[in-house]
């Protein structure tokens, strides 16, 4: 019961995208995430401007396996002498592109499936849930490998395959939310009032799920970035482009470990980490924004850390019958001082 309430609460916590962004920005952790994602986008868009060298240029230098220096802040690769920093910058494009496009595609498919399963119900629901069950037991990574083998390794295929297997989680969440929404009073009222299914679906159900979808999409983006890096690391990504996973694969295959070229491994790893981390941060903060109970329970413990006895004494003192004699003294409703205490 309480879980349904939580879901409903998330669903009802309305507000535009703008206000969501504002809330995220106000949250210290959310701000870190937003800034990181912003930087990432900037780097990806401005890659040709930012990159000090052409990352595809593998021939013009006899500078193989250089340690990080002023000329090459992150060193060069052993096999081809490519500038690692430039590759890192260009690699952000792939990560971001695949992560975001797959995330959005999954959001669409997952929401569609979830709403269909939840709202239409019956045979459709049964069918979709059986598909979900089947997809859950098939080992995902091996199947993706098989499919890229069959269909090729262009990024389009990779996105397609990720979408084909990534929608189940979102669909399940959306379905359970829709089931709750469907039985909620306002939808029932609309149904009684003779609203069409389509109308209810688009006016009531879908808006109700939007926040959950946004939140999930952010987390999905992060997950897909890791998955793409893994696939590229196995040498199954698009072989023509530069991606962080492929950089790691090249480092591994090019003997970075043997040569002790730590910079070649560390750089793409940190790239993946930061990108995924920033998206996850945003996702987690969104979860907190949408589900304040979660935030409250964790913040109480923080609050107790900074609780001081004087304040408590004051509170307890105010409970005495005598204290209530003077209404002005009542500290009711005032903020406890731990908010200030938290700064030190």
């Amino acid at each position: 019961m309480s879980r349904q309430n939580v879901i409903l609460q998330i669903a009802r916590r309305g507000g535009s995208l703008f206000s969501l962004g504002k809330k995220l920005w106000q949250h210290p952790k959310g701000r870190v995430g937003l800034i990181l994602v912003g930087l990432l986008v900037l780097v990806a868009v401005l890659a040709p401007v930012l990159a000090p060298y052409d990352p595809y240029d593998v021939t013009q230098r006899a500078e193989k396996g250089l340690r990080p220096s002023l000329q090459h802040p992150l060193g060069t690769s052993i096999t081809t002498g490519q500038d690692i920093l430039s590759m890192l910058i260009y690699g952000s494009r792939v990560s971001l592109m695949i992560g975001v496009s797959t995330g959005i595609a999954i959001a669409f498919l997952g929401a569609l499936m979830g709403v269909m399963a939840g709202y239409v119900g019956g045979v459709v629901d049964n069918l979709i849930m059986r598909v979900v069950d089947v997809l859950l037991v098939i080992p995902t990574l091996p199947l993706i490998i098989v499919l890229t083998n069959l269909l090729g390794r262009s990024y389009f295929v990779i996105v397609l395959v990720f979408v084909a297997f990534g929608w189940t989680g979102l669909a399940r969440v959306i379905r359970s939310l829709v089931l709750v929404l469907k039985n909620s009073n306002y939808v029932k009222a609309a149904e009684l009032a003779g609203a069409s299914r389509w109308y209810i679906m688009t006016k009531h159900i879908l808006p109700g799920t939007s926040h959950l979808i946004i939140m999930n999409t952010t987390l999905t983006c992060a997950g897909i970035m890791v998955a793409e890096a893994g696939l590229s690391f196995l040498g199954l990504g698009d072989p023509t482009a530069i991606s962080w996973g492929k950089m790691l694969a090249e480092a591994q295959g090019g003997g970075a470990l043997l040569f002790g070229a730590w910079w070649w491994i560390l750089a793409p790893g940190v790239g993946i980490f930061l990108a995924v981390f920033s998206f996850m941060r945003i996702g987690i903060v969104m979860e907190e924004v949408f589900n304040p109970r979660m935030k409250a329970s964790s913040s109480i413990y923080k609050l107790f850390k900074h609780l001081n006895n004087d304040y408590l004494d004051e509170v307890f003192q105010s409970m005495e019958d005598e204290a209530n004699a003077e209404p002005a003294e009542q500290p009711n409703g005032s903020n406890p001082p731990m908010a200030e205490g938290a700064h030190d």
């Binding site: 059986r130 069950d133 089947v134 859950l136 037991v137 098939i138 080992p139 995902t140 990574l141 091996p142 199947l143 490998i145 098989v146 499919l147 083998n149 069959l150 269909l151 992060a222 890791v226 890096a229 893994g230 690391f233 196995l234 199954l236 790691l248 480092a251 591994q252 970075a256 470990l257 043997l258 002790g260 730590w262 491994i265 560390l266 790893g269 993946i272 980490f273 995924v276 981390f277 996850m280 941060r281 987690i284 964790s298 109480i300 413990y301 923080k302 107790f304 850390k305």
Partner: protein, 332 residues
Amino acid sequence: MKRSYVIKRILYALFIFFIVLTLNFFIPRIGVRDPAERYYPPQGAMSEIEYDIIKQFTRAQYGFDVSTFQQYIRYLRGLTRFDLGTSLRPGSPKVTELIGQRLPWTLVLSVSTLLISLVTGLLFGTLAAWKRGRWQDTTLLNASTISVALPAFFIALMLSFYLGFELELFPAYTNPNMVADFDWSWKAIQVVLNNAALPIMSMALGGIVGYSQTTRNSVIAVTNEDFVITARAKGLSHRTVLYKHVLRNAMLPLATSIGMSISGLIGGAIIIERVFNWQGMGTLFLEANSTNDYPLMMGIMLFLSAFAILANLVTELFYVILDPRVTVGDKR
């Protein structure tokens, strides 16, 4: 009541398995009309007649010499005898045989990873729930955000680099002689463990954090339940409340996630096995992939799927023991 539930679950698992095996049959046939043209290009100076022979041969090899329906029947018949087909490798080893050779080595990794991450995760998770809001808990929370964002293969590479190459504490890559020279002696076991240390570490790191987080959340959720207050009101000691009431109930969601992860562990070891050159199922699969050895690939897929279905089924049935409520209302 219970019995009908068990039968229902088993039948459902069989149904899912049937769908999976059917998919498994059709997936490698997506867009492949003639495996000969696809996988065996004519090489060098090959005459038309020679290439025709090769084509016929390849079709037979891939089982494309009869109609798709007959192929399917043949495939099903093979499955009834636990025959997953024949690999295209030289010498045509049976797929089951190849899996049999590699499975134990993957199990070495996955079972110890599971055990380590489970035990440690339970401990840490309980500790974090216990010390809720204190540094132990905050550390765990941060660790979980970080570890999800750090791909296991990157951790593996760093461990291999630092502990393997720099400090030379462990073999940076698996010594293949390990498999060949294994004879159950204490020395051989030590060698295996020594070689397995880094792969297990890199896989367990994420697992520990994951299980800790699940345990923590689950323990906290259970701690807020009424029956825990009842238990405390009975005057039970703290430890009894924790072990008999909190943990027992907190295990329920954990059991589901273990069931899910058992199947993932074998398939998920692919990348780690690749990093350390560990001769397990993962590398077997990658080998099959690089040689277009579809019978082997799909055999492994089916095996993994069957394993996942079985793991889920066992979890579900085990759940009946763990949670007596399950049989009453359908849990899903």
